[in-house]
Subunit: 385 residues, 2 copies
């Protein structure tokens, strides 16, 4: 049986990402014959991971290819720690969000212990309300900061004031559910989610920009996340774009892309008091003709365009995806962004680069966290027993 | 025999990069037993690609492991088209430069036909003077511009004014030696060469910055060149660093890293007339205490440091290597570069990033071109017959 294990994970990955697929379609995608699919599906069904059924609308005549469907009982806990909001969800095999709980957060002074306790409490609520026959197979968490691979240590989370906080370890301890707990950077996970099932499907050289309060990035090179030497790559928000009179950045530098295009910059440029308006509200006012808001959005778009032009020159991406609150910003400031790209990105570098907004919208990072939670199962579907 | 072919290439690659190796060392590196090495070596020796001999200094007693040595008769033509100079060399299997010819070039107005004719003429000279028993197995060329993978089309070479010039095809036609001719970007090839046998050995997340007249980049992610969607990634020289009063760049933009740190910028900042001094001369004067030259070098170093800080935030590299004329600049302006990195690169991103100068010095791009020329042979050592 063990010789099938890599193929078991591949098959399960296909139905996890694409949803129900006929045996015939699986055979074609995996380049194996239908008897192999039959054997693999039997093993996965025996482990409770998939079900098989006749396709809808088939008549009694002939022998239609059975449809393989991810089990509705298998799920992960997906956790999203954004600057302003904590979210925990049950996400099923297949990627559907089954249930979720959120809690607002004060922006500053929230320590590791408080955050972990709140997340564990939300998680336990969801677990206790899950159907009795359902099974949690893992936990994946998205965090708005730099994460050490392996143990989920938050090396740096400037918006929350965290330095070297043992988030992954403490979260696993507080949840205490004997399932693997993995943590990743929010924009990294958003990039992977958009590549698997969002605006980046089929584009292995992809840049995902995530606006939370700051600006994060997830960059895929040849279909793989670009981690760099220590797993800390893709910090697009701290690219210096304004070397002269740049705004102060939480990282201690000035003129970073995040300082010039993040939430604080937009709110200030729109003449609003900190905390009195959201990015979405300023963008809405700009689109409705408010001149101060319009000028603020255009100014932010100008800096954003410089950042994107630089990324296009450096990475020659197939697509740049605007996620989180940058969806709103890009929607309103596309003229500024595209003008800067035309001016500063080389024609050869930009000739095939598409600009898109996130297809997974506010759930991109949460779905990415869920996929991280499913990684162990998909790596070896029979290992969890 | 054909079942050995992948291993044949691996063995040949080891002696190409490391030089003579004992059978025992090869067995250990490749994780195979010595009888497999014996069989592989016999095939490669039969094809004239390696020789075997007793190690120097062994006595008659015992049976020392024979040393496998790349054949001294196998070579490629390596071509380096820099902005100011054309170089053609015979480079042996093992990476040694056996012979070379160079020619200066007028900076502007040199068309494809003239360049190709000159290169072919130098190449034919070298071939005619090569020992009778030697064998050319390929041609690799490095070019100072953006190269289309596959056919070596120069999509954009601003310093030479080239747009969509069929350099690879025309070079192959002019050389007419029925060997594969491959073309790559100079900084890409320099990066790969430094990783194989220079300042980046063992560091798979690596940034190589190449100063020619402009500034190019070659970036390895996980040990592979980051090509991007079309093969045009790594254009670090056109990252916008000075958005306000930036110097005009040959690409049509202003304030690009290349415009602020390239040869023209340094010569101008040093108060010299264009063409009246080299980068090396200005740096020498700066190190000798010339205040104008010192200020010029420091100013350039400041911009270079901003660029490198941005790259460290984006790529979290294990090493940044300064090559070409940036070796001189970095040597004199290291304080400015490191100060900018400290100020603008995140501590977590830079904590393990080394700064080094190229170990292959002026030959990095030429050695990279030679490796490109050897690629077909190393991919399948018996294919050339």
């Amino acid at each position: 049986m063990t010789r099938h294990r890599p193929s078991l994970g591949t098959l399960l990955h296909h139905v996890h990402v694409s949803g129900p697929l006929s045996r015939a379609a699986l055979a074609e995608r995996m380049g194996v014959n239908r008897s192999t699919i039959l054997a693999l599906t039997a093993e996965l069904a025996g482990a409770g991971l998939v079900t098989e059924e006749r396709p809808a609308g088939t008549t009694g005549a002939g022998r239609p290819s059975l449809v393989v469907r991810p089990s509705p009982h298998v799920f992960v806990l997906a956790i999203d720690v954004a600057v302003d909001r904590l979210t925990v969800a049950r996400v099923g095999l297949g990627g559907q969000i089954l249930d979720r709980r959120s809690a607002g957060r004060t922006r500053t002074g929230v320590d590791l212990d408080t955050v972990v306790r709140k997340l564990a409490s939300l998680g336990h609520e969801l677990l206790s309300e899950a159907p009795a026959e359902s099974v949690c197979v893992g936990v994946g968490a998205s965090y708005c900061g730099m994460i050490r691979p392996g143990d989920g240590m938050v090396r740096y989370g400037p918006e929350m004031g965290w330095v070297d906080q043992a988030f992954g370890t403490e979260l696993a301890r507080a949840l205490d559910i004997s399932r693997p707990v993995a943590v990743g950077n929010e924009a990294h996970l958003g990039a992977l989610a958009e590549y698997e099932r969002g605006a980046g499907v089929g584009v292995p050289d992809l840049i995902y920009l995530h606006g939370d309060v700051g600006v994060g990035g997830g960059i895929l090179v040849g279909g793989r996340l670009m981690g760099g030497d220590g797993g800390y790559g893709c910090e697009v928000g701290h690219m210096l774009v304004n070397p002269f009179d740049g705004r102060d950045c939480l990282c201690g530098s000035q003129g970073c892309l995040e300082a010039e295009t993040g939430e604080y910059a937009l709110i200030a440029a729109a003449g609003r008091a900190p905390g009195s308006a959201t990015v979405a509200e300023v963008v809405r006012d700009a689109l409705a003709g408010d001149q101060v808001a319009s000028a603020a959005v255009a100014g932010i778009g100008d800096w954003l365009g410089i950042g994107v032009a630089n990324l296009i020159n450096l990475f020659n991406p197939g697509v740049v995806i605007f996620g989180g609150m940058l969806r709103d910003v890009f929607t309103a400031a596309a003229p500024q962004v595209t003008a800067r790209i035309s001016r500063h990105a080389m024609p050869v570098s930009r000739e095939r680069a598409q600009l898109r907004v996130s297809a997974l919208a506010d759930d991109a990072t949460l779905i990415g966290a869920a996929d991280l939670g499913f990684a162990c199962l998909l790596d070896d579907p029979l290992a969890l027993g």
